[in-house]
């Protein structure tokens, strides 16, 4: 039982680590959209 739990924890940790590294280096970063000054409501500066 102990061995199974330990193995589950190991594989979960490795999976999370690989996911973290892949996300950091290989997946494109999500670009937050900047609220454009302008658009339908004018430049928002009035």
């Amino acid at each position: 039982m102990n061995t199974i739990i330990q193995n589950i924890l190991v594989f979960t940790s490795v999976g999370l680590a690989v996911f973290f590294l892949a996300k950091k280096y290989f997946l494109p970063a999500k670009k937050k959209s900047t609220k454009a000054c302008g658009g339908d409501d004018g430049c928002g500066c009035h």
């Binding site: 102990n2 061995t3 739990i5 330990q6 193995n7 924890l9 190991v10 940790s13 490795v14 999370l16 680590a17 690989v18 973290f20 590294l21 950091k24 280096y25 670009k31 937050k32 959209s33 900047t34 609220k35 454009a36 000054c37 302008g38 658009g39 409501d41 004018g42 430049c43 928002g44 500066c45 009035h46």
Partner: protein, 699 residues
Amino acid sequence: MSKQINVALIGNPNTGKTSVFNALTGLNQKVGNYPGITVEKKEGICKLPRGVKAHIIDLPGTYSLNASSLDENVVIELLLNKTDKDYPDLAIVVSDVENLKRNLLLFTQIKDLQIPTILVINMSDRMAYKGISLDIDHLEQELKTKIALISTRKNKGIQELKELITHYKELSTEPCLEASSIDKAYFDNLRKAFPNQLLYKLWLVITQDVNFGKTDRKTFEAVEDFKTKSNADLKRLQQKETIKRYQFINETLKVGQTIDLKAAKDLRIKLDRILTHKVWGYLIFGLILLLIFQAIYDWSSIPMDFIDSSFASLSEWTKNTLPEGAFTNLLAEGIISGLGGIVIFIPQIAFLFLFISILEESGYMSRVVFLMDRIMRRFGLSGKSVVPLISGTACAIPAIMATRNIESWKERLITILVTPFTTCAARLPVYLIIIALVIPEGRIFGLSYQALTLMLLYLIGFGTAVGSAWILNKVLKIKSKSFFVVEMPNYKLPLLKNVALTVLEKTKAFVFGAGKIILAISIVLWFLASYGPGDNFNNAESIITAQYASENLSEDELNQKIESHKLEHSFIGIAGHAIEPAIRPLGYDWKIGIAIVSSFAAREVFVGTLATIYSVGSDEEETIKNRMAGEVNPILGGPLFNFASGISLLLFYAFAMQCMSTLAIVKKETNSWKWPLYQLVIMSAFAYIVALVAYQILI
């Protein structure tokens, strides 16, 4: 429910803006990036009377709202965009009592955007020293605002400033200069075409070379009723605006400010004469560098030894206390060892940033920039290239971003390309551990050989950066003009709070930024080193037992042989052996090869990787340094980390482009993959050749 207001902290560089930010927010601050760009964004919370909270943004330093760099664009974009969640309810313009005239230019521009604005006059403790007196009532009346006369150094006036922030709604939004006075006919047309908008905001949008979302200069050209002017005419109007503003400022200060030159006591000229002297200046700078490297070694050895042995004990304790199994091994051999490989360097990183921060805070760094400009010019770099090259000692990423204020594209590109040669903090862990292993502990003239080696590596990095700049200057056929302007701030005693916050922030960024990557890589490496394919790995015990059946090995010796056999046939062992032929001529074994490959993510991963690989299967409580010192060269015998392989490794890391994040930022700054790929190929090839030659000569 408490109320929160947005406050933008704006000011010229060197006015003590960050000190005001620190005084208002204390430790309630965080550093991030503006969305979509990599300009640093500092924000914090200031608790005000009556339960009001101020969300304060420390905007990049700017001399005016006429943007010439990306950093300055950030200021203008925020001030012009009411829909931005950070759009300020209040602007605080920080000025310095000695440069009030110049600082007021920016103040009048922001005031004219009709944002409630407080003028903070900082460094008031220097007024008597400089013979300056101010008529605050007159200034408040003329500038149509409230003024906080403060001294962050003496912690004076901060409470009064907080009171003013609380009552920001009472501030006048009347402009200092009527925009239409710049050119009446032109502004009348503008008002007719855009009747509901603030003239000065429109004027800023028209005159800037940046796009504010969809409203840029083309938007104005598209409006039929309004004919904008040519670029040259707009520039002329901008100059006219500046002259008008200075006329207003001069009139205001004529009564509001008195300077008694006889009362002024100035050490600055005397100090500048020595510190920027063409001989003494360089000598003093050299001595300061020596002191820094000596201190990094001598002062940090005690906490480092403590951290190293603590992690070794923690790893041992984990193994002995937790139930036996794979996860316990992962904790003890992978995670704790890997983290130990980064935490151990906290003292040295902190000392490095302590000194850099003191040099910057004291005003000495600007003298270094000025001093080095004489050298830089000969190599096709701008004096401003010194800032990225010096800040590259912390990290190449902000350093490359700092090139944005270099006006000439050629000089900027060269600076971007050569900055990664500067010894960054991430190289420090690699250098420190290798130096400790291969350089003897003796001293010469009171300076340790190890400290001198470290200094030499910094000089090699800087020298290579400058040398390659010279070559690039000859090779790159890009035409551009350049000029050099640097502000020399006054000498100041560094503020302890500022220095402490910088050290804390930079060390935290280093540990947590690199720490997460190292933790993840340590877990993956441990897995790859602890599991493997095929019978050779799975039946390691029976293979080794049969192999050594005739020899009378003790249980410990046999276990060591089994672990060693498993490591060699693990996933990482197989990968390491595959790349070994390429690195063997440099004096490295497959384990070092794996560390080099994994440290491509970030250089500091090198030590953590070796710590993880060496600790797999080890039952002894050993420090990282001892484990590395105990490694034996499998072919030649003797220590693996000897003088030849150590120097070879040091030189490899001095020149190799081992940082994915730097490549990403170069791509972003040059807007092309061409330059980062050139950097990667040329730097790696150069590093390999130099490391190869060094090893072959020294062996």
